[in-house]
Amino acid sequence: MLDTPGMVALSALILAALLYHTATWFRLSTYIIVVRLGRRTVPRGVLLAGLVGAWLAVSAAVAYFHIWF
């Protein structure tokens, strides 16, 4: 059932919406999360890079358990 053209098109649409959510949510998070290192606060760009890195690492872990574990 998941390999019919209609379901693949629907999945592509859902994936596009999810990636848009990921982008906007991470961008929003950099305004809300404040990480202090001593007296300095971590710049928004570094925070965004950290979020993207964590996202990639978590996605890889999920893929590993889902496919190969």
Binding site: L2, V8, S11, I14, L15, I32, S59, W68, F69
Partner: protein
């Protein structure tokens, strides 16, 4: 919109900007409605935040694997076989993971859609909208638990 009250009706962005602008004094709690209503409001925002992160971090890879990679035939043979996935899904840790994966984004949706109904659609039946939104999320959580316990 860094200072002052949000416009009427405010968008979610206005509300966030407004609460951001009010949160200026370090070490001091931001004022919120007292009593059970305030605690419920804070709890709804906590679920909204948790669901937002689950939807942003965990859901894309699941849709990519199940919706795209599986149909495209990119997965190794037997990776999605019934026995393997059934065994994986019956693990208690997987069940907890699936409960969080499925139910938390429902509360994210409920909280966001509640404000969308008020501010984007201009409907102000506050109690009915809240019951409808959070009720849908609660029903979804109940169905999830039922399915997870019976697989």
């Amino acid at each position: 919109m860094r200072r002052g009250e949000p416009s009427d009706p405010p968008s979610l962005g206005d509300v966030l900007e407004w609460s951001d602008a009010r949160q200026v004094e370090a070490g001091k709690r931001r004022p919120r409605p007292p009593g059970p209503r305030g605690r419920l409001e804070a709890f709804a925002w906590a679920l909204f935040s948790a669901g937002g992160f689950v939807a942003a971090v965990l859901l894309p890879i699941h849709v990519a694997i199940l919706g795209i990679a599986f149909a495209a035939g990119w997965l190794p043979d037997g990776a999605m076989s019934y026995d393997r996935i059934h065994h994986l899904a019956r693990n208690p840790l997987t069940r907890l993971y699936l409960l969080a994966l499925i139910s938390l984004p429902l509360y994210h949706w409920a909280h966001r859609f509640r404000f969308a109904i008020h501010h984007q659609f201009g409907i102000h039946l506050k109690r009915l909208v809240a019951v409808g939104c959070y009720g849908t999320a609660l029903i979804g959580t109940g169905l999830t638990i039922w399915v997870l316990l019976t697989i």
